[in-house]
Amino acid sequence: MSQSLQAKIADVFQEPGCEKNAAKDEKTRKKGCSKPLTPGAAAGGCAFDGAKIALQPITDVVHLVHGPLACEGNGWDNRHAASSGPTLYRTGFTTDLAEMDIVMGSGEKRLYKAIREVIARYAPPAVFVYATCVPSLIGDDIEAVCRHASEKLGTPCIPVNAPGFVGSKSLGNKLAGETLLDHVIGTMEPEVSTPTDINILGEYNLSGELWQVKPLFERLGIRLHACITGDARYREVASAHRSQVNMMVCSAALINIARKMQERYGIPYFEGSFYGIEDTSVALRTVARMLVERGVPTDLLERTEALIAGEEARCWARIQPYRARLKGKRVLLYTGGVKSWSIVSALQEMGMEIVSTSVRKSTAEDKDRIKEIMGGDAHMVDSIPPREMYAQLRRGDADIMLSGGRSQFVALKAKVPWLDINQERHMAYGGYDGMVSLVRELDRAIANPVWQQVRQAAPWDAPLAAVG
């Protein structure tokens, strides 16, 4: 590992803005956050995966993966981060290193040529170049290649140095944040700038969720300048330092960006969520208050309250028909991080019962919030082994499971309704509108008549009755 990357990782592990970190003593903090993985019992993506997830939604740039085929070839164009315009980000680019490149050490040369090719053909505003394990192992210096290419070719080439083997997906998220801080944010000036410009960090516009909340801000005259990185254009991210307030969603993923932007550019930030009615209202209210604190006229506050009141009422009215159908239904919620508490409160708003919720990736504060929301009977679990999960579902402990694709088939094979609430989902659940979608999807899943049919055994195994 290069020294600069080592320093970066140490820096990320020291992040003072991270609540998990804040709760640690000096000694444990030094050890860093990476739990050693167990061979033969590990799940989840690598640091490269995490970096790519965080940056790929920048729609108008080339995302070029420097490595052997698998890193890009097995996983390109597989998420639903939506774009309102450019589609370049959905194109898979890789140097597809062959044995000769590795043996002869010609990887850097190949990378440079690849950069030249994509710039010649696509003329992107920037090229993001991702390091992977093999070139890192043989000592390819992607930072040097990017520096050289930027100078020679006149297009910013951004080195994303998060090879898979340095750690987990979440470390990769943070290294992606560092990349933006080091090479992108603050390098350009915005075309338009207003006193109500805000940025949203850690929102990837999966299935278009950003567009469920963007109109709310627009209605208040608040301008969403840069979403980092959902539906983003390079220039928006590069000029994000001129915004007035940063809202950080998705918990700790990009906390380093929020905190360092405050340090460097004096932009205050807060952590919020657009999942659930209550959370959406709190987020709107907080943005308005922080903008007013930065000098926006105070009438914004009243207008915000009026919007919230109207939207909440409209949302409840749309949800109402489903409440009776969902009330008392038991949910097994299996996800991580910020989504847990925000979805817990959303489900409770529907009168649903949470059988248990996982808190694998949650911070101490997340857990406190869940306790607070769920009262005394918070069934928080760290992780449920699939065999145990299957047994619970077969026993009928829950009426539906909400989780990510990884456990989808545990639920389905146990013949229990399942709803995708992870990044691969096709539905948008953001804001007030998303809450209505979520409730509609819950009902659609639970009420489907197939559950009855698939649970019944074949009738012809019963003792034979006489024909006739």
Binding site: M1, L37, T38, P39, G40, A41, A42, A43, G44, C46, A47, D49, P68, L69, A70, E72, G73, N74, G75, W76, N78, T87, R90, T91, G92, T94, T95, D96, L97, A98, E99, D101, I102, R110, L111, K113, A114, R116, E117, V118, C133, V134, L137, I138, P163, G164, F165, V166, P386, R387, Y390, A391, G405, Q408, F409, V410, K413, K415, E424, V454
Partner: protein, 462 residues
Amino acid sequence: MAEVLHSRKSCAVNPLKSSTPLGAALAYLGMAGSVPLFHGSQGCTSFALVSAVRHFKEAIPLQTTAMDEVATILGGAGNLEEALLNLQKRMKPRFIGIASTALVETRGEDIAGEVRTIVARREELRDTAVVYASTPDYEGALEEGWSKAVTAIIASLVPEDKTSQTDRRQVNVLPGVHQTAGDIEELQALVESFGLFAVVVPDVSGSLDGTVPDQYQPTTAGGTQVEQLADLGRAAHTIAIGQHMRRPAELLRDRTGVPTTIFQTLTGLGPTDALVTLLTQISGRPASLRLRRQRSQLLDAMLDGHFHFGARRVAIAADPDLLCSLAGFFAGMGAEVVTAIAATAGSPLLAEVPADRVMIGDLQDFEDAAKAADAELLVTHAHGRQAAERLHLPLMRVGFPIFDRLGAMHRCMLGYRGTRELIFEVANIALSGLHSHTPEDFADALPPIEETSHAYAPAQRH
């Protein structure tokens, strides 16, 4: 004869390939009670896993040795041993198939030696068949990975014995990576219609065919039993499908002495006739009435369908054997293969693809070439969807991955029935694209009027 060209780009754009270890994993998944294990970083496994889950719509048991940077530099034997023991403890597999990745192969360890040492030393692994194939990502793609894994299975688990008594009714089948559960079931039915039975290695029709078992199953629920491998030497004949199965098929023949036939494809009238001829010879029985009827149905489908193939301009991008098979099928139905892109240079038969040239390339090459050649139909895997959108052309999904359609594993393209269905599928795509004619369609019906040659021509219109 086609000229085989290599793309000269340094940057692969919209990769056509899926990785070599993934191909190996798919083969290992055809074994019963199996867990494939990638020797690499956890991301190597994670990407392959997601890709496989999205294609099969099934939970896929795929594990990782979780190499981090330190282990990579110091050597991965410890991780490999720990992974094998953990898998054995947690999942009790009957079979573990190890596929190496570019990461560990770049460092260049003696993984085969390490596996031997670990298995010999650890009591716990006594009842588990452990197989290793060297499958770095930087060499080959899906077909190569599958081929290497099947070769490794045969090399490790099929005894070298040419003296075992022959069961005249047994036929060994070595399917290629693109044979689905539906294909294998059809092939079994064909074999059984001659009073024979098939031993399929590996058999994804028992493990990836999508069923609902009555209990939780951490490993594959069905597939080829390890014990069956010992019986391969008893077969009357071995049938392998595709050029990429030549190596494992020849190895099996060398170890067992069982006569072997390698079919380049079993899609199409000619190839199916050849298979049926072979089965009549092996069994000494004539083709059944049902089979005769199926052949006649295929002839009828060819007659009904040929209207929609003749001179149609088709662009195909696929792994080499699948490309050869499909190009042969389309050309045989009268279509013109205007673009042929192969994921790798894997097969010597690429030169025989009925097209002017075959390019070893990616989906950008495919899109560019299809556009330049004015193709009317795109044939490739689901990642061709972006090209189809941009070119406003229908996309017929074939191969791996197909993540945006259901039923990829049950689609059958082999034998008389599978070919018949394939003809209908293509013809229906053409039929759904038919448009109602307008006068403009016939603008060229008469030569344009030239003003000077007709005294009574109207004045120039505006």
